[in-house]
Symmetry: C2
Subunit: 190 residues, 2 copies
DNA sequence: CAAATTATACAGACCGGTCTATATATAATT
DNA sequence: AATTATATATAGACCGGTCTGTATAATTTG
């Protein structure tokens, strides 16, 4: 099936982006790792690497947004919802020897010269921010306050991942989770 | 002069690492950007790219550590010291069109397969953490608490930089600075 | 058959790294 | 002091390999 191959290529690309970013992810790496037909890369993505990476980023960004939304909405309190997100990331990092990080963060860090890709990065941050913000509002925060707290949360998550990779330890994530819980408690949010 | 060329190569490498990470920084890019003699790269760094990157990281990591220490020690309160660090980073990001980030964070994100480089990443985080922790202790925090707060601070800084790059806005840094100030105040730290 | 899809060969640029030759400075020897 | 020896440093061509991307052929599929 056509869409099947395309899908496989996108998911594999997203995975490689999480691990090593754009520059270290070769087109051949993608076909090799995906097991997808070798001849179909430039058929499905005539725009080349930029298109492939941009679409992969967009897809995985939306997927992770959905995951976050579910984790937040299915939790009684915003606090436990956010804690679940940290636990999930922590498990992924540890079980991958600290190779798998955040696709958005990894790509944003290297700031590649690909306009379409940079475009998506901004969109993803806005999406994620909105999901967290809305959950905080539902937890009782005023919109302006929720806006700031959501921004802070995103920064902490991204940074904790980077620090975890650098030091090969999940401690940054554990501390981050604990401190955010404390913060929300101090703000009287549920 | 000999040491001069070496130094130039190291500083240029560090700069390029901050902007685009290891994979996108070619050896030729380094000599071109540094204006250093093309023939002397592998004379000064016989270990090749890995040695060059590892040494550049180590040097810039130590330099930034010194800068942080000075900013923290020359400030009346830990709060204003940390705020100064944010302001500095914010200015650098904005004036470089959000290209210049943190060398440690950028390299850690792409998690390159270079043992010597990864080694340095861990060392840098430990160094930085210790500087912040000590300042927080001097501000009145108990050691265990200072340890956690320093860890949180590092995560926030790294993450705020990543988010700023993704969204091409310094808002994450401003929010981060504000929230850290609020946190320290709530903890009764000077 | 016709269209969609995959295979494969290859172009051209660039990569990190090695090589030899040359220049320059310092030190040793006479 | 003059000259030789030695370590340091730079120039630039060059190697095999890999990169993205293209062109064309073969194959599946409806």
């Amino acid at each position: 099936m056509a869409t099947d191959t395309r899908e496989r290529l996108l998911r594999t690309t997203a995975q490689l982006l999480r691990e090593r970013g754009v520059a270290s992810t070769g087109m051949l790496d993608v076909v090799a790792a995906s097991g997808a037909p070798k001849g179909s890369l430039y058929f499905h993505f005539p725009g080349g690497k930029e298109q492939l990476v941009a679409e992969a980023l967009q897809q995985t960004g939306a997927d992770m947004c959905e995951l976050m939304k579910m984790a937040l909405d299915s939790s009684k309190s915003a606090k436990t919802g956010l804690a679940n997100i940290f636990a999930f990331l922590s498990a992924e990092l540890a079980s991958s020897s600290f190779k798998v990080g955040c696709p958005m963060g990894t790509v944003a860090a290297e700031a590649p010269d690909l306009p379409q890709v940079r475009e998506r990065l901004g969109e993803i941050v806005v999406m994620w921010h909105s999901v967290v913000k809305n959950r905080l509002i539902k937890a009782g925060a005023k919109p302006a306050r929720a806006d700031d707290l959501a921004e802070l949360f995103l920064s902490i998550v991204e940074g904790a991942i980077v620090v975890a990779k650098a030091r090969r330890s999940t401690r940054s994530l554990e501390v981050a989770q604990k401190e955010i819980a404390r913060l929300l408690k101090n703000e009287g949010l549920t």
